[in-house]
Amino acid sequence: MNNKKVLAHAIGAIALASVPLSAHAWPDQTVTIVVPYAPGGIADIAARTVAEAMTPIWGQEVIVDNRTGGAGFVAATTVARAAPDGHTLFVADMGVNVINPYLFDDAPYDPATDFRPITMISDTPLVLAAYSGAPFDTTEDYLAYAEANPGEISFASAGIGSLNHIVPEWINYETGIDTVHIPYRGGAPAATAVASGEAEVGVLALSSVGPFVDSGDIKLLGVAREERVASHPDLPTLMEGGVPNVAAGQWAGLFAPSGVSDEIVEKIYEDVVAYLETEQAQTTFADRGAIVSPMTSEDFGQMLDDLREQFSTIIEAANISAD
């Protein structure tokens, strides 16, 4: 007992002797960018590229924290609960920031109120990709085959609620075909599953299937965009292939927990966008099949509102559920 008292006094004395911390301008400590997916996906690359570029500019270490699992719930709740002091940032995509609340009844966060959009970072075209041994070579053939063999075809996704999950369900809804969702832990494993023929198709980011297209394990059927992509001018859009309406981009955007001050958001926005507009940033993303697409915080917020409306309608109409 006596010893503990001595200890308590000693602790008190040391505490009093130490110098109080003073308030610094942002950032005065390590900045963590939380990413809801495993390293290797486009969201991770976007976060890492930004983190690398911002470290010298902000004069603080900017690190990327991959918190995978649970359809992004883990990462999203971490950020939602973090202090809104600008030292915790979030790189999120459609799945985490638009789709989840419509798909899961018990999503433990609300993207519309928990996060404040700062800017979009990059956009990646989604492609309908198929195993090279699959008995169809075009979107039309695929639709015909799927129609003739309902419930036979499996599509791989990066997880429940990811855009790779919703878009094929959307295609099913628009065309009346029946395919089965197989979730994987991230875009890279999903691409591998298509390359190995475990799943016949997948609507995946162009960047993650690229290597397998080169190796001949995966063939591309169409791109889920309104117009064709510059890098693959011969690849028709899904709409050209007979799937009405379906177009979506696998964007990655930068967010902060809501409640962060306007000055900090402005500073982050200016620094990040200034970097994204450099030629170096454009090439870095282009090499990975993504397009740098900075956007003002207001435009980005507006876009998110529009997407939420669009996708809540689709998810409800197509009756997509978590399991």
Partner: protein, 501 residues
């Protein structure tokens, strides 16, 4: 480009001053974090990642890889001397390494593991050089059902490593699988066994489990039992040298372990060296003419798994570099490092960035040579740690564990979980449950469930998928054989078991 030209290019790349320096830095950091219980190589690699953004891609990978395989060398040191696995993959080394050091053969054990590490690594590197492209193709033919069955075999094998009580060994595996369930279900997003605690949404960290069961529980049972000076090993140069008998007993196990480790490491998703070392241990125990010596300081029980985990650490680069499929979390981080430098992992790396691929491979050889040279003189230093009286040593261990666990995620909850799991774990270990199979169950649990559910979705609900695929059927057949053998063994009259720790 033929092999000789490739190796020449690799040599030229690896021998630049810059790459040599990063290699040395990487393996040294790796060895230190490997020795220190509580700081896993995962933590070290993640913490050093930002540093590598500022160096060229090859140098960055050379250094990160050095941390990874350097930690495999260091991990067994703490296992042998303190019964604390410095890394998850060296957990199995505790089983025989610690009894060896209690018998005063710590120096010899460290020498054998150092050599086993070197041989295992070299073996796997040669395989990597010769067979990377064809083996990558083989790995691509693995489907979810095959992964599932392979993990079932690994778990049954881990359960039966158990010393004479296979039913409890299997129960330990199941307990581990159950702890692995905690958190958000990947397939449905449902929370399971989180009891509403937000820190548990992400599941329990492997470091927490490993530190609680191997670190703290062991401290609890050793306090007051290990008389001061009981562990005093005389560190003469002679005591470092294994006896002729020990050399003889380690030769084949090292080679067999290297083979098992290389093979397991190639398969993506097997969690780095952990599974390899467990498998190698199980194989060794099965084919040994004296299986009863295992767990009591059998030389083969450290030689084989140590060869295996190092071999696996090297061979797991095969799927990572050629396919872009990370074998474990560390590999995933390395892929991140590649991409940050604008290099897309996948089949193109070998052809489009030959200086990176071959430079890295040659740097593995150099790094292992450095580790071998560094390690042998350091054995004396590590053994000296034993001469600190235990009553002063264990508070240091506890402090290191606390600091290490906290530094992982800066989560107080993780530290509290260590206290809780250690308390429960100590009781379980007293009842005969075993930490090593539990840990493997915990590591493989989420992957096992994921692949099971995925296979069933793919087969549209037909369980036959596991028997129709030849690879899967072969693994399940082996698992069933092992299980029958174990169950039969547990019901036949027991030999008198000695129970004194």
């Amino acid at each position: 480009m033929d092999l000789l030209e490739s190796l020449q290019l690799g040599l030229a790349t690896a021998l630049t001053m810059e790459n040599l320096l990063y290699c040395l830095l990487g393996v040294s950091v790796g060895m230190i974090v490997g020795v220190l219980p509580g700081i896993g190589h995962l933590a070290a690699v993640s913490l050093l990642m930002p540093l590598t953004f500022h160096v060229p891609a090859t140098a960055a990978l050379v250094m990160l890889a050095g941390i990874y395989y350097g930690a495999q060398y260091g991990g067994s040191i703490a296992s042998i001397l303190l019964n604390l696995p410095g890394t998850a993959s060296s957990a199995v080394i505790c089983l025989d390494g610690y009894p060896m050091s209690q018998k005063g053969r710590a120096g010899a054990a460290l020498m054998i593991t150092t050599i086993a590490s070197f041989v295992g690594s070299c073996f796997a590197i040669i395989v990597l050089i010769l067979m990377a492209p064809p083996l990558a193709q083989l790995a691509l033919s693995f489907h979810s059902a095959d992964y599932f069955s392979m993990m079932v075999l690994g778990l049954v094998a881990a359960g039966s490593i158990s010393q004479g009580r296979p039913l409890i060994g299997l129960a330990s595996v199941v307990l581990g699988l159950l702890i692995g369930l905690v958190g958000i279900d990947v397939n449905s997003g449902a929370m399971r066994m989180t009891f509403g605690i937000p820190e548990l949404f992400d599941g329990v960290s492997i470091i927490v489990i490993a530190m609680a069961l191997f670190g703290v529980s062991e401290v609890i049972s050793s306090i007051g039992k290990t008389g001061d000076g009981a562990n005093k090993t005389r560190v003469t140069f002679r005591s470092l040298l294994p006896t002729r008998k020990e050399w003889r007993e380690s030769g084949w196990p090292i080679l067999r372990g290297s083979g098992v480790g290389t093979a397991v490491g190639i398969l993506p998703g097997t969690g780095g060296g952990s599974m390899a070392s467990f498998m190698a241990y199980a194989v060794e125990k099965r084919i040994s003419s004296k299986p009863e010596t295992f767990g009591k300081g059998a030389v083969a029980g450290i030689a084989a798994p140590e060869g295996a985990n190092n071999a696996a650490a090297q061979s797991s680069f095969i799927p990572t570099l050629t396919l872009g499929i990370p074998g474990d979390a560390i590999m995933a981080l390395m892929l991140g490092a590649l991409m940050i430098h604008g290099i897309a992992p996948g089949p193109r790396v070998v052809t489009e960035n030959p200086e990176l691929f071959w430079g890295l491979v040659v740097s593995f050889l150099i790094g292992n040579l450095i580790l071998l040279i560094l390690n042998i003189p350091l054995i004396k230093v590590w053994v000296k740690i034993l001469q600190i009286p235990y009553r002063l040593l264990f508070p240091i261990i506890i402090l290191l564990i606390c600091a290490g666990v906290y530094s992982l995620d800066r989560s107080v909850m993780d530290v509290l979980l260590v206290a809780g799991f250690a308390g429960i774990g100590y009781l379980l270990i007293k009842l005969g449950f075993e930490a090593a199979p539990l840990l493997l169950g915990f590591i493989l649990g989420p992957m096992l469930e994921e692949n099971l559910r995925r296979s069933m979705l793919l087969s549209r609900g037909d369980f036959m998928v596991f028997l129709e695929r030849p690879i899967s059927a072969a693994f399940l057949f082996l698992a069933a054989l092992l299980l029958l053998w174990v169950i039969w063994g547990s019901f036949k009259p027991r030999r008198s078991t000695t129970e004194n720790n």
